[in-house]
């Protein structure tokens, strides 16, 4: 499907991972993250194993490591939180480079950092290999509530339309001398947001009218009927099996 490939988190490639049905990838990513979270934090080498596993998936999907790393900066705010933990955490404390650090805090920070990072990397891998549109199709096939997938699909379709509208409104404000750098001009921006809301609401009504005119009765017609084969599931879940083995070995060595 060609839709949605303009998204910055998607890497348009042709690879075995890209070709897997979206629902297989969603389930695999979810189970993979569950394995990571279930691993005891003291089982340090196991987390390295997860990273190697992800590297293997990236190679199969032909995703450059740098491409993933640049997008993983999204995690930074959480890292800040993790850095605070060793300083504010409870006793016992250890001395390191003249800093007094809390030992449970250090372990807690490591826990957040490593599991969060692996989670982000897994999500980025899923996003890179699956267009947004297919993610929704996948959710639909996994029997996610139709209302949720419909709303998400409409959001996906209209977010650019609404962003375009916001951009034009901003340009029109700036063209009339508005300079949003100054705090006392924030009011105009706020009213702009309000106007944008009303406009989007009105557009929603018009879209609804147009849908009714084409016979919409409340249920989205099912338009795609691709079947997922056992081989797809086996291929998609193979990395999950490795992750599960890693998680179990984590429990054994910890």
């Amino acid at each position: 499907m060609g839709a949605g490939h303009a998204h910055p988190l998607h890497l348009h490639r042709d690879s075995p991972v890209h070709r897997l049905p979206p629902q297989v990838k969603i389930v695999a990513a979810f189970l993979g993250v569950v394995c990571v979270v279930a691993t005891p934090r003291e089982a340090f080498p196991v987390f390295g194993g997860y990273l190697v596993l992800l590297l293997g998936v990236w190679v199969a999907a032909r995703i450059p490591v740098g491409w993933i790393l640049r997008r993983s900066v999204i995690e930074l705010p959480f890292v800040v939180l993790a850095v605070l933990l060793p300083i504010t955490g409870p006793d016992p404390r250890i001395e390191w480079l003249g800093l007094s650090l809390s030992e449970p805090g250090l372990l807690g920070a490591w826990n957040i950092l490593v599991k969060g990072t692996l989670g982000v990397l897994t999500s980025l891998t899923l996003a890179a290999t699956t267009p947004m549109r297919d993610l929704l199709v996948g959710l639909q096939r996994l029997r996610a509530p139709a209302l949720v997938t419909t709303i998400a699909a409409l959001m996906l379709r209209y977010v650019d339309v609404i962003a375009g509208e916001a951009r034009r409104m901003r340009l029109a404000r700036i063209a009339r001398g508005h300079d949003p750098r100054f705090l006392w001009q924030a009011g105009a921006t706020a009213r702009g947001v309000g106007a944008l809301f009303v406009r989007s609401y009105e557009r929603g009504e018009r879209v609804h009218l147009a849908m009714l005119s084409r016979g919409w009765t409340g249920a989205m017609p099912v338009l795609t009927e691709n079947r997922t084969t056992r081989r797809d599931w086996a291929a998609g879940l193979a990395p999950v099996a490795v992750a599960a083995a890693l998680a179990v070995s984590g429990w054994v060595i910890a």
Partner: protein, 258 residues
Amino acid sequence: MTLADPLRPADGTARPAPSLLVRDLLFAYPDGHQALHGVDLRIEPGERVALLGPNGAGKTTLVLHLNGILAPGEGTVEVGGLPVTKEHVQEIRRRVGIVFQDPDDQLFMPSVREDVAFGPANFGLSGPALAERVEQALAAVGMTGHADRSPLHLSGGQRRRVALATVLACDPEILVLDEPSSNLDPVARRELAEVLLGLGRTMLMVTHDLPYALQLCPRSVVLDEGVVVADGPTRELLADRALLERHRLELPFGFTLS
């Protein structure tokens, strides 16, 4: 200018049911604003009719009555002989294909193919029949190669033609176009005209674009203050300067018709 009586054909012969028959339609919005004051309109199969009139004349209100989105206060609407009532509303919506003014309102699915399939799927088509209908509709507007693209990545003219295809795919009795030429560059405007003329379908075109009405529609109806004030050959109506002036219509600069 005398009004043609829309209810009594001049030749008196029996004809197939008119594609559209509006009789004495009255409508007031809930706030009390009376938008339609008794509209009569008859459109025969195969006719192309322009609906002209100033802003606020009731054109959009009339259009929303044609497929039962608004229900008349008084009067009746029939499409191909079927009255617009609650129990027929689904069939009526198949028969009346409205192309809305802003294609972004009409095209809401992630890909062109899915959007064109949305209408016929709602009306019960599926499988190969649905796929064939989608292909035909896209071919009719010259957009076959764009089926898998997102409407976001199409030009204004392409979006308009896809919006037309989404309605054509429902195989309507009458096409209703709301300002089809708005926001189009001259080439896209001409291309759309060629597509519309090539369809050979019954058409009601709401527009302010008088030269476009002349190009596409042999017959025009002028609506003002909720009543039909003129109905006749487009060329004659547009040549009647006094009529145009009375109803806030005028040809663009440089145009004269004799």
